[in-house]
Structures are given as C-alpha cells and as structure tokens.
Symmetry: C2
Subunit: 453 residues, 2 copies
C-alpha cells in the first residue's frame, strides 16, 4: 500500500480535531469518505466521550457499516455503552449474518431486549438465523441475497436488481427459484447483462448449481468454495428451499479461524491469547494447561522414582533422560501435526485413517532406526561404553516408533470417541510421550542392568 | 453438499467407461459438463494411457481450465508427459498468474523451451510476470483485467466489456487509467449498469482507490483484502502505472499457505509432509530436524554430565528432570506461537516487539510463580522434604520465566538478524529451553547441596 500509512495518520489527526472541535458537518464529510475498515480503526482509538459524540453525529446505518469491520471479540462493550434503542437500530441495519454473530456472543436476556425494541421484520430475520448451530453453513450465511423466479423476464430482473441491489451482499450471482421457492438455477450478472430484454430467466440460467445444506460444517463449505473458486454459494434446507447465501468474505474469516485453531491446539494456547493482551490475561489463558502438565510431570517423576535403585547404581543413566524424552516429544509433535491437519481437512474416512497409522508406524521405524544407530555409535565413541550406547540407541529407536504412533493414534482415537480434540494438543502428546519414553528407557536399563555394571 | 459424493461417483464411473470405449463425442459432452475442479479430480485418478486419450480429445483451452484446479506441487509430471507444443498451448490459455506459478517451479531450460514454442504475445505476458520475486504482489497478480480510459463513455465501455469479459479474471471491477496508463479510479459493474449510456467514465468512477505496490509482500496484500473485504485489488509500479490485479481466489490460497507455514514451523515438519505421502518420503522430510535435535540432546546430556557428582550424591534429583525440561518446553512453545503469529501479521514495529517481550516477561513471572508454589507444596507433602520442594519449585519458577522470554526473544532476534525464521521452530526452542532448564536446576542444586543432604 503506497505510503498509505503516512497518509492515513495525517487524515486521522485531522478527523480527530474535527471531532474534538464538534464540527459536525466537516467531521461527517471526512469520516464518511473513509473506507469502513479505516473508520473502525479510528473508532477503536478514540475515548468514550468522543465515541458518544460520534454516535450522535452518525446515523445507525453509518455506524452499522463501520461496526461490520470490528472484530467480534472486541465489539460488545460498544453496544453496551450505547443507548439500547440506537444499538438495536444498528443491529437492524447490519448484514444479518454479522448481527447474528455478535448477538450469539451476548447474554440471552440482552439479546431478547434488543430484539424486542427492533421492528418486527428485522427481528424476525435475526431470530431465524439465531437458532442455527455454531460453525454450520446456517450460522455464517446471510439472508440478503437476490432471488428471482425462473419465469421472470430479463427486463423485470434488471428492475428488481436496481431496487434490491443496494441491500444485497452480492449482486454478481442471482439465484433462481420455482414458485415453491425451491432453488432451481443460478445466473451470473455477466450472463444477465448480455441477454435480450424479453428473454425468460429459465432460458439463460445454469441448472448446474452447487448448493450446501444448512447443517453443513463451515470448514467443509470453505473447502468447497476454495476448490471451486466460488464467490458465493447458496444454502438450502433438506427440501431444497433456498435459505441464504455464503459469500467469499465470510469464508476468508472461516479459513483463518480454522487454521488458527489448529495452530493454537498444537502450541497449547487458547485462541484469545493475542500478542496485545496484558500479561495477567495471557497468564490466565496459559495456566490451565501448564498446571495440568505440571501434574502429569509429577506422574513422570513418580514413575522414574520406581527405578531409583537402578539410577543409584548407574548414575550416568540420568544424563540421557532429557535427550530421550525430548526426542519422543518432538517426533510425537510432528506426527500429531500431520494427523490433525489430515483430520481437519476431512480428507479420509476410516480406511484413510488406518492407512495414516500404518504410514506413521513405517515413518517411526525408519526415523527410529536411523537415530538409534547414530546415537549408539556416538555414545560408544564418546563414553567408550558399547552397552550404554546400545541401551540409549535401542531406547531412542523404540521411543521414536511408539511416539510417532501415539502422535497419530491418539488424535484419531479422540476424534472417534468424540472427545473434544483440543485435549489432543501438542503439550499433552508431548507429556504422554515423555512418560512412555522414560518407561521404555528405564525398563530396558533395569532388564539389562548386569551388562551396564 | 447434498449427496454430491454419490452422484459424483456414479458420474465418474460413466465417464471412465466412455473414455475406455473411446467414445469421443459422448465423453466430451459429459466431461465438459462437469466443474473444472471435478474434471481435475477425475484426471488425477486415471492412468497414463487414459490421460493420453484425454489430451487428444480436448482442446488446449479445455485442458488449461482443468489444470488450473490441480495443485502446483502435483502438476509438473503431466506437462512432462505431453507433447511440448500442446503443453505450451495450455500455458498460453491458462490465467497468466497460474501459468507463471507452474513455470516458476520448473527447470529454467524447460521454461525457455516452452516460451520459445509459444506465440510471442502470450510468451511476453508470461515473461513479464516471471521475473517478479516469489511471495510478492507481482508474483500472484494476473494481467487479465479490464482497464478503461477515464474519457470513455459508458456505452463504449459496455461494448468493451462484452468483448474482453470472457478472458478477464473479474468483470466486477473496471480499472480506470489516464492516457499514460496511470491508475486514476475504479468502477464497479454495479455502478456501470445503472449509469446512462453517454456518461463519461470519469463522472461515475470512484477516485478513492486502494492499490498495492508490485513489490508488496503477498501476506500483507491478503491482510488488506481480508480487512477491507475487497474482491480484487489493483497492483501498480512506483509511478502508479497499472500492472495487474489480484483477485480474492488467489488470496484464499495465500492465507492457507501462510497459515500452514506457521503451523509446520511450530511442529518442525516441512510443508510437503502431507498425510498421503509414503513413509520413506515422510521420514526423509522429518529426519534432518530429528538428527539436529539428537545432537542438541547430546549437548544437554554432556551438560548434565558435568553435574554427575551432584547426581550421585542426591539420586532423587534426576526424577524431576523430565518435569522441569517438559515445563520449559511447553511454556516456550506457547510464547513462540504467540510471537510467531505476531511477527507474521506484521502487527508491530520495534516498539511493539519490545512491548511483547516485556509482556511475556510478565506472563512468565506470573505462570512461574503459580507453578513454583504449587510444586513446592506438592513435593513437600509427597516427599516430606521442604528443601527439595523449594529447589524444584524455584527451578520451575526461574525456568518458566526464562523459557517464556526465550520463546518470544529468539524469534524476534532471528527476524531482526534476517536469519531464516524456520530455524526458530518449535522443536528448536524446546531443545534450547531443555538445556536452559537443566542448567538452572542443577546449578541451584549444586549451590544448595548442603541443604539437600
């Protein structure tokens, strides 16, 4: 973006001055000239007193357009500080899908009071969407689309377009329905503008239309839109009635959301742990995991404690504990990352999952053998102790095989048992593998003790 | 997608039979009726002999449209098996940006030979794009856009639209240039169709136009398009000449690519490590990291070896090694994940980075204190040894502070020193933190040895 930052900074300063000076007209002119995203950036920077001024200078429609560019997690306090009547007018003016996203995060009683103030038609639209389950096509679709009857003429459609266009999420696709409101075709604006005025819609529409069910997982919808390069996709119920559309801008958010979920899971952080929160909030988000891991770590400690006799006889054994546990953790995380991504993209059914586990067993065997042989040789040369080298090498080999398998098996099992997959996160797998590796290592050491002494 | 999978399977079987039976006409009819993505899925399943048949049944344009829906990493062998003249015709028919993406992955001499066979105009378009650096706006833009002169009339523009529309990546935005081909405005198809025939473009265009520089990072472009909900954004050189456009479908790929890069980095896997590769390939991808970590682990072992005297006196010390190292690894990964995401979104300059490090120090202090106190109490109750509890608790506290700091400082330092950030991956940070934690633990233990005996 060319020098955009400097230009923006200058502009923002000016607007701030207009707001401070209560110059309504000039403020409105300059402010409304900005892209809603920039308006939102400005809005987030100013203090409560200035925000109150701003609410009084702008119409609910103008505030609504800006609000659509504020992150959902940050938007609630603004609605709380406004006059409830003004807030409900803003909800009525927003895209239904965005309004529903915000309301879904609020207390039930607040939502009810907003809907009560709102006029009936708008409230009904929002109520319709509110009951769709989170993360389904229904929850991200919008009801502001253009639908035309297949028996309509091109000319009538153009008139309708000019009327309904301003409120629709997209005018680049028109959805064609029969008299029962069942989806029967699609027409691109491209096709419409090159058609003759008196042509019937059904003559130029494409019947080859993709639709998604209202209960479809949002990630699946995102995948379809990405693979097929759709700008929008219609949403239907089981009788093929057209309920709404999902546009590509909603999908961008879904793709980011899902990717960041996988990422956070791997790191053992929660999604709200952003670089700009304060340390107390960050610590609160991370502590639950850390405390669980602390107790799992104590379990590992007590397991090693069982081998205290072995340890006191051959002290040198303990110096390789971090090496073996570390390798187990790392290899497990690698396997986990591959499995989680595979499960997320839903690429495979049961057969595919079995194939993945077999694949990982093979991978573990290869990496385990290579690392085992290397470490045996190195320790033999370093400590001049062949049996110690063999012991550590063999432990590394077995550990890598088991840890790689665990990294893929555990998330698949949890997925199958419908346990919240967040449990199969990186730190958890790492700690499980710590325990396994220590058991293998000390188990072998105790068994072959006579060779080591 | 409603029963789409069963319908598809049936369809694919039929088409396979038509291809086997060499029924050209029926095959073409059915095949071309499918969405190019589905064509690509079918194409990926059939064997080489059938692919040869398919090449001979379809025009280069038809194959090109299908090829745009095959992943770049998988596409090369197909071009290698075709007649080079046919291949170069396909490149000429593809979107320039997609053709360039594929050619960028090929050997230089192959690229030259394709460009030589191709007709000059197409070859020039591709050559223009080939020299843009990877991951910049220039490398993902397409040159197939519609540009109009500001002095043109609406009527002339509609005529131009019908002519150029079929080849353009999008007709929903028209870019307005002056006689020097400098970008001066934008016009949506929406605005054009509601305008009077003899209006001049400059009267209805919006001058408030965003553009990105050709050298802009692709991730930055993706962020802008996502924040501002753009379907397309124009790309300009430093003199503001219009060079190309980037459409939202290219941005979907960028968002996925960048997210999966961060994810892989955290897990210590390389991007090609997908669930469907074979174990030998997977092992090859993972081994480099594992072997490096093996040697870092040996370093840890030799560091602990320095404390062998301490260990042999107080054997019980060794049972807490995995606990302390594990906590260091986990907390470091959490901090790393937050820092990497912050660096990736480019949210902050130097000031922001300093703030992040201070924030992480605070977070480490809180989590460290909480975990330290818990573990001191637990060990005191369990082992009835207050000094041992204090030692482990204090080690955990210091370790968590240092590991959290390391998790944010190391990637920032590497970013500053322009070292390949892939080095600051999860396993690397984990191993560094293993070493630090062990040093803290045994350092404290050796210092306060007399209290423990």
């Amino acid at each position: 973006m060319e020098n955009i930052d400097e230009i923006k900074l200058e502009q923002l300063k000016q607007i701030q001055q207009l707001l401070d000076g209560e110059k309504i007209e000039e403020f409105r002119e300059q402010f409304l000239d900005m892209h809603p995203y920039d308006q939102a950036q400005f809005f987030m920077e100013i203090d409560a007193a200035n925000r109150m001024l701003l609410y009084s200078y702008l119409s609910p429609e103008e505030v609504a357009e800006m609000m659509e560019h504020i992150e959902i997690e940050e938007i609630q306090p603004f609605f709380a500080e406004m006059d409830p009547r003004f807030a409900s007018m803003i909800f009525a003016e927003m895209s239904t899908d965005d309004a529903v996203d915000i309301l879904n995060e609020m207390d039930k009683d607040k939502v009810v009071s907003f809907l009560t103030i709102m006029d009936d038609e708008d409230a009904d639209e929002i109520k319709d969407l509110l009951h769709y389950e989170e993360k389904t096509a229904g929850s991200i679709m919008t009801t502001e689309f253009i639908s035309v009857y297949k028996t309509q003429s091109v000319k009538a459609t153009m008139v309708q377009l000019k009327e309904e266009g301003p409120d629709a999420e997209t005018i680049y696709y028109l959805y064609v329905v029969d008299q029962d409101k069942r989806l029967v075709g699609v027409l691109s604006l491209r096709d419409l503008i090159i058609a003759e005025d008196d042509t019937k819609i059904e003559a130029i529409m494409s019947e080859n239309i993709f639709s998604v069910s209202v209960a479809e997982d949002q990630e699946e919808v995102a995948k379809i839109m990405k693979d097929y390069d759709f700008l929008a996709v219609p949403v239907v119920d089981f009788q093929h009635h057209l309920l709404g559309i999902i546009t590509v801008d909603d999908i961008l958010d879904v793709i980011e959301e899902e990717a960041s979920e996988d990422y956070s899971k791997l790191a053992g952080i929660t999604d709200g742990d952003k670089p700009d929160t304060n340390p107390i909030v960050a610590a609160k988000k991370r502590l639950p995991w850390l405390v669980i891991l602390l107790f799992l770590g104590l379990l590992t400690a007590s397991l090693i404690g069982q081998f205290e006799a072995t340890l006191s006889q051959v002290t040198i054994l303990s110096i390789f504990i971090p090496l073996i546990a570390g390798m187990a953790g790392n290899t497990g995380t690698q396997a986990l990352a591959v499995a989680v991504r595979g499960l997320a993209t839903g690429e495979y059914g049961n057969e595919g999952k079995l194939k993945l586990v077999i694949r990982e067993a093979g991978t573990g065997l290869i990496t385990g053998t290579v690392c085992g042989v290397i470490i045996t040789a190195v320790i033999f040369l370093w400590k001049d102790n062949f049996y110690l080298g063999m012991l550590v090498g063999l432990s590394i080999m077995l550990t890598l095989i088991v840890a790689t398998l665990a990294g893929s098996l555990i998330p698949i099992l949890m997925h199958r048992l419908k346990i919240d997959p967040a449990v199969a996160s990186g730190p958890f797998i790492t700690t499980i593998n710590d325990i396994i590796s220590v058991l293998i290592y000390f188990g072998l050491a105790t068994t072959f003790m006579n060779l080591l002494l």
